[in-house]
Symmetry: C2
Subunit: 236 residues, 2 copies
């Protein structure tokens, strides 16, 4: 078995893993949009579908991890190749977390349907989720095409998501102060907004992996964190 | 270089990585308790220390990742050895996340000190943080000693943390309904409780890695999730 042959076998293995990542990414993108849509339209059936589909996402992560371990053991990749495989595992882990947040949103849909207080936040949450879903799509494209510039663009756009979250946080506070009956639904809506904001953080982590693979190092500066609610006192 | 020699070199590498994990774990344990203590006593100086120390935790994760990549490339470990190294990387990643949550709690200390509403929740939050810190200590001991039973015990104890969180969630809701001035501080306190609950999830993930390494597979059943606030309507 000559060197050329070994390289090709590794490439085939890697391609198969990339295919699994894209499949997993597709499921996660669908989960994000379905969870947001179920929330907006109080569609408990669609929310249930998101809950059920999460097992497939988790299953893909396990497959990718096993496959990565198999490839490392079998091919002993070094330098760039090894970095690539470890990065695929990290991306799978981040995708799984995003899927978990989508599942968590779907779980709250039932609760919100029961509270009966219809606050007009579903559309805003869906827009925020849509933004994260587009970021995820670009992050995965950047991964496949080794496009560090596109990855950096994704990282920059996470600031918008953080700002959307900050605006909603303030909005929920005012609703709660206006009427105590809004407190319970707003706590849930706020959690949902925070979950979407965290999804953005995981998508950002995927984009950072792309830059790490392309440049051989993680971005030097920790990115500016756009969620200011943890440090600024909320005056309503 | 005979097989024996190669094995010993691998063992030495692994031991060095385990030492880094224990060092990282020690820093994270300290961060949890310092963040909780700073919160309870509104000690902004101690909170600042937690913020500053987080860089050391992040740095250790990077060192462990680089070292893992180096060892994989150099020693081409297979089967159990490879599983062990990949598991060390996962544990480092979970530790880093726990450190992030401690940092997030420390950030909110300043805000809460400014709001001026002293709700008597600091002690309860500290007890919850203490429980998570003990779980982390045991999870890391289980890791070093390959003790699947202790790891399972840690996983079981996470239910207590989830129950503590549920109780606090309900308590915060009643505070907010009693007085709108409580809404802003309670939103922050609730976030802190949720962050501690999430720390417990990451510690559980570490314990699951221990079982994975010992048994060669992840626990079959997804554990029962004790945080019921996402599915149960809150009636106050």
């Amino acid at each position: 078995m000559d060197e050329q042959h070994i390289t090709s076998a590794f490439d085939r293995d890697l391609e198969a893993m990339q295919a699994q990542i894209m499949k997993m990414g597709g499921l996660v993108e669908a989960a994000i949009m379905e969870a947001a849509s179920a929330l907006e339209t109080r569609d408990e059936e669609l929310a249930q579908k998101v809950l059920e589909n999460d097992a497939a996402i988790d299953g893909l992560e396990e497959i990718i991890n096993s496959e990565a371990a198999r490839v490392i053991a079998l091919r002993s990749p070094t330098a760039v190749d090894l970095r690539l495989i470890l990065s695929v595992m990290k991306i799978a882990s981040n995708l799984e977390r995003v899927g978990d947040y989508a599942k968590n949103i779907a779980k709250r849909t039932g609760v919100l349907a029961q509270t009966g207080h219809i606050l007009d936040s579903g559309a805003a949450l869906r827009r925020m989720a849509r933004e994260v879903e587009l970021m995820l799509k670009d992050a995965l494209d950047a991964h496949v095409q080794r496009d560090a510039e596109l990855a950096q663009d994704v990282i920059n756009r996470d600031l918008d998501v953080d700002q959307m979250y900050n605006a909603m946080f303030r909005e929920f506070l005012t609703y709660m102060m206006e009427n105590p009956q809004n407190i319970t639904p707003c706590m849930h809506l706020h959690f949902i907004a925070k979950n979407i904001e965290r999804m953005g953080d995981h998508v950002t982590a995927i984009a950072e992996q792309v830059i790490y693979v392309v440049a051989g190092e993680t971005p030097a500066e920790e990115r500016v964190k756009g969620d200011t609610t943890s440090t600024a006192p909320q005056e309503g």
